[in-house]
Amino acid sequence: MSPLAAGPIIPNFGHGNSCVTGDHIFCWSWVRDHWNDTLGPALVQHVELTAIAVGIGFALAFTLALLAHRFARLEHPFGVFSALLYTIPSIALFQLLVPLTGLSWTTVEIALVAYTLVILFPNFVAGLRSAPAEVLEAARGMGLTRRQILLRVELPLAVPAIIGGLRIAVVSTISIGTIAAFLLPKGLGYPIFVALGNPTPFKTEIYSAGGLAVGFALACDAGLVGVRRMLSPWTRRGRT
């Protein structure tokens, strides 16, 4: 069991220095003291939460997008279904799932995966469709098979749209992931909830956990931009 779940160990207004007891705007000493028992584990859990949600969401969206690309008839129903999912507020979706999957990690992940799917699916489909008509005609005319056209032309050309979708999905999953603390004492949302639960919300804890979530999101986003540059060098060079 994580130390977070053990009970209200923070903030302890009776202990610590004057910054903490006085609930000043931001206390580095509190962050240092509680990195190992609060912030660090919460960050690790948040990374896991996000990685699993985006990973599963990516695999599902990719498969569905390939199917929709191959069988045009499927795209509309897929799109409507995922759009409907997105209209359900996240807290309500958690509530709907609790009777089925309980107050569990699974419930949280199902909801998060659903949201990534809504973002990723249309982006992936648009990406696969972004190959210009004349490029596809030339490819067919040169004797590429359907599979070769997908692997050598359509997929590489879809990379910018795929990464674009991932960037939005990752950032929004990190953000929505904080709400998971409604169900489970996990992730960067939990320290925030605990701090808000005090008669006077403990500012340092809110800012540090929130700041970590923002930092994590920015780091992921920068990483994805780097990956896109590496995978699609042609987008960087225009007519000289």
Binding site: P132, A139, G141, M142, G143, L157, S232, R239
Partner: protein
């Protein structure tokens, strides 16, 4: 694969679903190996459709198309297409591949070794007039004319005996267009392939084609002959109208003074012109200067004879 192939259209008909009119009707054409054949006609006349039936991008309903006697239906579309060069108006270069990778597409499909593809790519870039440094560029870094040169190199990569070109210069500015037309003619003499070239531009057809097939609306063949014969004897009113009222002048433009019989030099002629210029240009010179004859000289300035204005009639 190499050399040139004879192409036969044998009563080919194509009807698109939901259309009353056939796109191509009973089209028969015999294109000799090595011929530069231009399909020309009004827009929507079915010439592009006819072209795409050769590499089976468009399936035909009846009749047959044979390449060196072998029906295009004998091969799978993929195999067939790898043996035919294909160039389209908007080029369709792969934006995510460098020029070298674009050119090497078909050789890679055919499983050539890396070194062979590299050598071939360098050779082709030179052939189409691009410096070696372009090999590493992406299509977005090229001008329209350069892209079409790469498109041509890509189509020639595996040395196919047949090249299909669908309005390849239609999107280029007039200057680039004329330059590429000239180079394509030169290239055709060098590589000796059968070319089927679609255009709606009569001037382009006349200047490019060894033979011209004029296709009228509804996809029927109006006339199939050399440009000279078509200009001299249009088969009917449609052809006459299509090639234009000034067909006599167009014919004069096709011949240089080196092609025509000249008379011995007399004193009356003052102006000298090169034997390389067209009869049409020579006539223009005479009309401008008010003289009725010019002295024709060769590249060394040696007089070959006299060309008189009243000889024009005999040429037509």
């Amino acid at each position: 694969m190499s050399g040139a192939a004879r192409i036969e259209f044998d009563h080919v008909t194509k009807r698109y679903e939901g259309r009353m009119e056939a796109a191509v009707r009973e089209l028969s054409l015999d294109i000799p190996a090595g011929c530069f054949c231009v399909l020309v006609g009004p827009s929507g006349g079915g010439k592009s459709t006819a072209l795409k039936m050769v590499n089976r991008l468009v399936p035909f309903d009846s009749g047959d198309i044979r390449i060196d006697g072998r029906s295009v239906r004998d091969l799978s579309p993929v195999e067939l297409r790898r043996g035919i060069g294909y160039v389209i108006q908007n080029v369709g270069l792969f934006p995510h591949m460098t020029v070298a990778d674009n050119v090497g597409t078909v050789p890679r499909l055919l499983g050539w070794s890396k070194s062979r593809i590299g050598t071939r790519t360098a050779e082709l870039l030179e052939l189409v007039g691009l410096e070696a440094e372009y090999a590493r560029r992406y299509p977005a870094e090229l001008s329209g004319g350069q892209r079409q040169r790469v498109g041509l190199a890509r189509a020639l990569a595996a040395d196919p005996p047949l090249l299909l070109m669908d309005e390849p210069f239609g999107a280029l500015d007039p200057i680039t267009r004329v330059r590429l037309q000239t180079e394509l003619r030169r290239l055709h003499r060098e590589v000796a392939k059968t070319v089927i070239f679609v255009t709606h531009d009569v001037d382009e057809a006349i200047s490019m084609g060894d033979r011209i097939a004029i296709v009228r609306e509804g996809g029927t063949l109006a006339q199939y002959d050399t440009p000279d014969a078509i200009l001299a004897h249009p088969a009917d009113d449609f052809v006459a109208q299509f090639i234009g009222e000034d067909r006599a002048l167009r014919r004069l433009a096709m011949h240089t003074l080196a092609d025509v019989p000249l008379e011995t030099v007399s004193r009356q002629s003052r102006e000298t012109v090169s034997s390389r210029i067209s009869v049409r240009t020579a006539v223009s010179h005479m009309l401008e200067s008010g003289s009725d004859s010019v002295i024709v000289v060769d590249d060394d300035g040696q007089a070959l004879g006299v060309f008189r204005l009243d000889q024009v009639e005999e040429l037509l």
